[in-house]
């Protein structure tokens, strides 16, 4: 007996079918409305970005700020608390500083801004390349990049993912004694646009053991690479200690360690126009001196297999390396965690070559992703962040880790008389990695994705390839990146 026969107006099958159809329709409707919401958000964000990006002079200005002269005092008073609660989180990503004091100092400025403007801020300190590049790539692929980020900006700017901050930076560059030139030049793209707002100058001094090396040299650092190769074997005690915690693996620091040697011998990575130039004959002597250090067993052998950027940090901090050329993250870590080793550590320019001694420098700054959910808040956050008193807070709390971007902040005994004075002089005269060219979009592909220079050194040192041939192969590989990112 079926349901109709029992007096029901429909069969069981019809009932099930109808219910299922109704459920499917409800589900579709629910999904549809959700999509509508997302769609609305998605259209809102680019609109904000569209107004903010091309006209950064007007877009970031909070109410009451328009027309105010960009003096420290004026800017300091301008941010007006916005009583509207901004939905979502304002994400700030930056590469790990390897100590919590520095990370918190940077992150907390944004937290303070968020509190004043009812924006939930979440900052993350992320280990360096390639981890952060992967994270950024994944976030972008998912359509949820962070609002602000201090990594891989040249790449993301040329890809059109990050916006132009020239107007924002120009408002601040003359304040507090003016910014160091490298603070601007290192964040200026080939098209002349500034892609990040600088908050610190990161320099790469040689950290060296004054107690051990100084005992052999009369209290000074090695005069030259040749002296290092000559005296190193008398100082080190392998496998417990090696003269140089030299970075050469598939990690972020190998480029600096190599380019310091190339510069000392008159070489370079790129020419004036930004075209790869590793094949330049002047690079041969620099590559050769690095190979000589390796063949003299002056560098920790496990460096070849290193895949984390902190390899040389750890080697020095554990006392295994007697020299490490690195940003002052090592010194920053020592000041917090190992004062004894910190006291024994000197800072100076990397060893000298026939062309001189050169250290890498560059500014660290935040760029903004144009497709971030709260992109309309990004320029406001940077306006707050860049105020000299906020950046002074950071440099005061992390003294020694970074050189301040404003010259006035690098005055006083600490920066002029202590061992950190070397950092301030590097900030004045340091070179950016791409020297003599401005930052190049192809560079991070070579340094953080393909590790071309690490592979080149591997061929020379471990496969005994002729330097010229290794240079040629590296040049081809670098040109592939150049053609992909620059030459359309």
């Amino acid at each position: 007996m079926d349901e109709r026969q029992r007096g029901l107006p429909f069969s069981r099958r019809q009932f099930l079918g109808g219910t299922l159809t109704l459920a499917s329709a409800s589900l579709l409707a629910a999904c549809g409305s959700g999509t509508g919401e997302t769609g609305a958000q998605a259209t809102t964000a680019p609109t904000g970005q569209a107004t903010a990006a091309p006209k950064p002079t007007t877009a970031p200005a909070p109410a009451g700020q328009t027309g105010v002269a960009p003096t420290t005092a004026a800017v300091a008073t301008t941010p007006q608390p916005d009583l509207t609660i901004v939905s979502g989180k304002f994400n700030v990503w930056f590469s790990a500083n390897w100590n919590t004091v520095t990370d918190e100092a940077v992150g907390n400025v944004f937290v303070d801004w968020g509190k004043q403007n009812n924006v939930k801020v979440e900052w993350q300190s992320i280990p360096g390349s390639p981890v952060i590049l992967q994270k950024e790539s994944a976030a972008l692929a998912a359509g949820q990049p962070p609002e602000l980020d201090n990594n891989n900006q040249t790449y993301w700017y040329t890809q059109g993912e990050m916006g132009d901050l020239t107007a924002t930076v120009n408002k601040f560059k003359g304040m507090a004694g003016g910014m160091y030139p490298i603070a601007l030049s290192s964040l200026t793209a080939q098209d002349g646009g500034i892609f990040a707002a600088p908050y610190a100058v990161d320099v790469w001094p040689a950290h060296w053991r004054m107690d051990l090396i100084g005992a052999k040299t009369g209290g000074r650092f090695f005069n030259s690479y040749d002296e290092l190769i000559e005296l190193g074997p008398q100082i080190q005690q392998p496998p417990k200690t090696y003269t140089y915690a030299y970075a050469v693996g598939h990690e972020g620091d190998h480029v600096n360690n190599l380019v310091s040697a190339l510069w000392a011998y008159g070489g370079r990575l790129a020419d004036e126009k930004g075209v790869p130039d590793i094949k330049n004959p002047a690079n041969k002597a620099g590559i050769d001196v690095v190979a000589r250090m390796w063949k003299a067993n002056l560098c920790a052998p496990d460096a070849w297999g290193a895949t984390v950027t902190s390899f040389n940090n750890e080697a020095y901090q554990k006392g295994r390396g007697l020299i490490a050329t690195n940003p002052a993250t090592i010194m920053g870590w020592l000041l917090v965690n190992d004062k004894e080793l910190g006291d024994k550590t000197g800072l100076s320019l990397p060893p000298k070559g026939p062309a001189g001694a050169f250290a890498e420098g560059g500014a660290i700054g935040f760029g903004y992703f144009k497709k971030a959910k709260l992109v309309d808040q990004s320029l406001k956050a940077l306006d707050f962040f860049m105020q000299p008193e906020n950046l002074l807070k950071i440099s005061k709390s992390v003294e020694g880790r970074f050189v301040p971007v404003y010259r006035d902040h690098a005055k006083g005994d600490f920066w002029e008389k202590s061992k950190f004075s070397a950092l301030a002089s590097i900030a004045e005269a340091g070179r950016i990695r791409n020297w003599p060219a401005p930052p190049q979009p192809w560079m991070s592909d070579v340094t953080d994705a393909k590790y071309t220079l690490s592979d080149m050194m591997n061929k020379v040192v471990r496969q005994n390839m002729a330097i010229e041939q290794a240079q040629d192969e590296a040049q081809k590989d670098m040109m592939d990146s150049y053609n992909k990112f620059v030459k359309k």
């Binding site: 099958r13 099930l16 079918g17 299922l20 159809t21 499917s24 390349s129 390639p130 590049l133 992967q134 790539s137 994944a138 972008l140 692929a141 790449y155 890809q159 993912e161 392998p238 496998p239 417990k240 693996g249 598939h250 920790a300 052998p301 496990d302 460096a303 070849w304 297999g305 290193a306 895949t307 554990k318 295994r320 497709k371 592909d445 953080d448 994705a449 393909k450 592979d455 591997n458 471990r462 192969e473 590989d477």
Partner: protein, 316 residues
């Protein structure tokens, strides 16, 4: 009645009948095909969205040159050709390493897993505790175990600590940093973490072997070794086969441990196809190239999945 409803009048419309009659549809799809398909529809959609679409998208991606967040450009077989023609692609080395790591790890897991299962199948004290401990390496997240091994084998780890303390060698052993021994060290870790799965399956298979077979063999004078070779091993044939297939698929697709322990280095000595695909696609920002590398593994996986499915259906 249904037949009559489906009758067309081609003369009147001038159009040939292209829609099959309702009875044909019924015959093909069953009497309740509409409701049937409606009920199956959600599962079908989920399968399409979660399996078929990403899979097809990956195939299409492998024919494109595409950066993250950008529209791809069609390059045909360019990405595939690049794998074989570009000396810096490391594809051949990655393929060879994948085979070597998978093969040696499977052999290691087979022998150690069988031995462990034999031990745990005996009447030993605290049997359940040992079984629980044995499964630990498999239960702990791969990234945690990878870091634990990295610490063990580090220059500041316990093994090199002993070497330095007792002056056993002039230099440390650079397990993951020496191209000569990085691959065997890696295989050791993969065997360690994957063996419990084998042990678990083999142990379960052993417990299903009827005790009467062993008793009969014992009465016939068969020794321990003979009982193992002529009763246990043949009884476990299907278990070995299925376990080996699953383990091959998982081991060859292993990414986390290799990424954490060696990152494919030193000197690409431990690079594998999944890792190369990942490094190319994500840090290298070449989505198409990465997809092409992943797709080269597809034929092998199809064969494995075919045999696995056939074996499992046969068992049912």
């Amino acid at each position: 009645m249904a037949r009559a409803e489906a009758t067309y009048t081609p003369k009147a419309t001038g159009i040939l009948p292209v829609v099959p009659s309702r009875s044909i549809v019924r015959r093909l799809l069953g009497p309740d095909w509409r409701l049937g398909w409606l009920l199956v529809c959600p599962v079908f959609l989920i399968l399409m969205a979660l399996l078929v679409y990403p899979f097809l998208d990956a195939i299409l991606l492998s024919f494109q040159n595409r950066f993250i967040g950008k529209v791809g450009t069609w390059v045909g077989f360019g990405n595939y050709a690049d794998l074989f023609s570009n000396p810096n692609s490391h594809f051949a080395k990655a393929a060879l390493n994948t085979v070597v790591i998978t093969g040696s790890a499977i052999i290691g897991k087979f022998f150690i897993g069988t031995a462990m299962a034999c031990v745990l199948n005996q009447h030993i004290r605290l049997k359940n505790l040992w079984r629980g401990l044995m499964f630990l390496p498999w239960a702990v997240p791969a990234v945690v175990t990878a870091y634990a091994w990295r610490f063990m084998f580090d220059t500041s780890g316990p093994i090199n600590g002993l070497i330095a303390q007792f002056h056993l060698r002039d230099d440390y052993i650079y397990f993951f940093n020496d191209a000569q021994i990085a691959l065997p060290s890696l295989v050791l870790v993969i065997i360690w973490s994957g063996t419990p799965f084998w042990t678990m399956n083999i142990l379960a298979g052993m417990q299903a072997v009827p005790a009467e077979l062993y008793e009969a063999a014992e009465l016939d004078g068969a020794g321990t070794v003979q009982r193992f070779l002529y009763i246990t091993m043949p009884s476990l044939k299907h278990v070995f086969f299925v376990t080996a297939l699953l383990s091959t698929i998982w081991t060859s697709a292993n990414l986390v441990q290799i990424l954490v322990l060696t990152g494919g280095g030193p000197d690409y000595s431990t690079i594998t196809l999944p890792l190369l695909a990942y490094l190319t696609a994500i840090p290298g920002a070449r989505l198409g190239g990465g997809a092409a590398i992943a797709m080269t593994m597809l034929p092998a996986y199809l064969v494995l999945v075919y045999y696995l499915t056939r074996q499992m259906l046969k068992q049912e």
